[in-house]
Symmetry: C2
Subunit: 212 residues, 2 copies
C-alpha cells in the first residue's frame, strides 16, 4: 500500500512515500524522524536506542524489527536529512548562476535560524563525531558531499563562463571550498549561538569570490 | 615543587609546568593527556570516566580528586590543546604577513597528516558535539576562537596594508572566515580520509584571496 507521511523534520516538512505495509512503515518512519531529531539536537553518542523509541512513542522492542543497529538508523536518518539539501533548485536556469547559488545558502541559513543556531548541520556533526567510529556513516557522508560538490560545480562552471567567478578559481575546487567554509560557519554559529558566521560567509563569498 | 612534564599530546610534545604537589600533579596531567587522546580520537560522549582512568593508568577513584566532572576535564583538555595553536609565531615580523599565515596553516596540516586525517581538530569536534550539551565548553571554544581570530586579523591587517589581500576583504571578517573554512576542511578530511580538502584550502585561500 502506498503511504504518504508528512514528518516534521527539524523544522521542515518532509514527505515520505513508502509502498509497503502501512503499520510497519509508520513505525519505521517514526523511528527515523525521532532519530533525526535526537541525533541532530543531542548527537549520536549522547542518545541510545531507548531514547529513540521513547521519542518515537513506539515499543522499545520494535526498533530491531526495522534496524539491525543504531548505526543503520543513522544511515536512514542521513537519507531523510538529504531531502533538505535542495540541489534540484540549482538546475533552474531562469536565474543567473551566482544568485541561484546564493539562494541555496539562504535556504540553509533559514534552517539554521529556525533551529536557533543550536543544532548545526547533521552532515558536519556526523562528520566530526562519527568519521572514525563508523565507516558506513563516513562513506554515506562522502557520497552526499560528492553529490553536493558536483551539483554546485556545474553552477560555478556557468558562473565562470559568464566571468562571475573571481580570479583563477576552479569550479570543482571552489565547490569543495564552499562546502567546507559553510560547514565551518555552521559549527561556529553553534559555538557563538549567532548568525554572524553566516553573515561573514555571505560577505566574503558573494562580495569577494563572486560577482553579484 | 615545580614539575616539568613532557606529555605526548596527539602527536606533539607539550611541556607542562606545575608548581604544586608532584604526585598529585602527575595524576592530573595523566588524566588530561588521556582525556585529550580519547576525546580527540573517539569523541566526548563515546568515552566514559573509567575509559579515561584506564588509559591514564590511574585508579578510577582518583578522577574525582582532580575533576568534579568529565565536563571540567574537557575544559582542562581544551586548555592543553590550545598549546598547539602556535599563535605566537604570527608575531614574527621577519617574515611577510601572508607567508607567516601560510606557515600557521602548514603547522596545522602537519598535525592532521600525523593523525592520518582521523582525529580532526578538537575545537571543531567539540563545537559540533558539545555546543548544545555544555555551555562551559561552548564558552571556552568561543574564547579560543576569539583569540585566534584577533591574532590572525592583526596579520591580515598587515597584509592589507601591503596590498596583499584580494578585493575589499576586511581583516577581521577574513580571519573569521579562514577559521571556519579551515574547520570545515578538517571535517571533510576526516570524512574523505585525505589531504585533498587542505590542498584545496591552500589553493583557494593563498592563490585567490591573497597574494603570495
Amino acid at each position: 500500500m502506498a503511504v504518504r507521511v508528512a514528518l516534521f523534520v527539524s523544522g521542515s516538512y518532509v514527505h515520505i512515500h513508502r509502498k509497503h505495509n502501512m503499520a510497519k512503515s509508520n513505525v519505521r518512519d517514526k523511528l527515523v524522524a525521532a532519530g533525526l531529531e535526537l541525533f541532530h539536537t543531542k548527537g549520536y553518542n549522547a542518545c541510545g536506542v531507548s531514547d529513540i523509541t521513547d521519542a518515537a512513542e513506539v515499543p522499545k522492542g520494535s526498533f530491531y524489527n526495522h534496524f539491525k543497529s543504531k548505526e543503520l538508523l543513522a544511515l536512514a536518518v542521513l537519507d531523510l536529512y538529504q531531502s533538505l539539501l535542495g540541489l534540484d533548485a540549482l538546475k533552474d536556469k531562469s536565474k543567473p548562476p551566482v544568485p541561484r547559488l546564493r539562494s541555496l545558502f539562504k535556504r540553509y541559513l533559514t534552517f539554521q535560524v529556525k533551529w536557533q543556531f543550536a543544532r548545526g548541520c547533521l552532515l558536519g556533526n556526523f562528520g566530526a563525531e562519527l568519521s572514525s567510529q563508523s565507516p558506513l556513516v563516513r562513506k554515506a557522508l562522502k557520497n552526499i558531499f560528492d553529490r553536493w560538490r558536483d551539483a554546485v560545480a556545474i553552477v560555478l562552471q556557468e558562473a565562470k563562463e559568464r566571468g562571475d567567478l573571481a580570479g583563477r578559481l576552479d569550479p570543482q575546487e571552489t565547490a569543495r571550498f564552499l562546502y567546507n567554509a559553510w560547514q565551518g560557519a555552521v559549527i561556529n554559529s553553534k559555538v557563538t549561538r549567532s548568525q554572524a558566521p553566516f553573515d561573514n560567509f555571505f560577505a566574503v563569498v558573494f562580495d569577494s569570490l563572486m560577482k553579484r
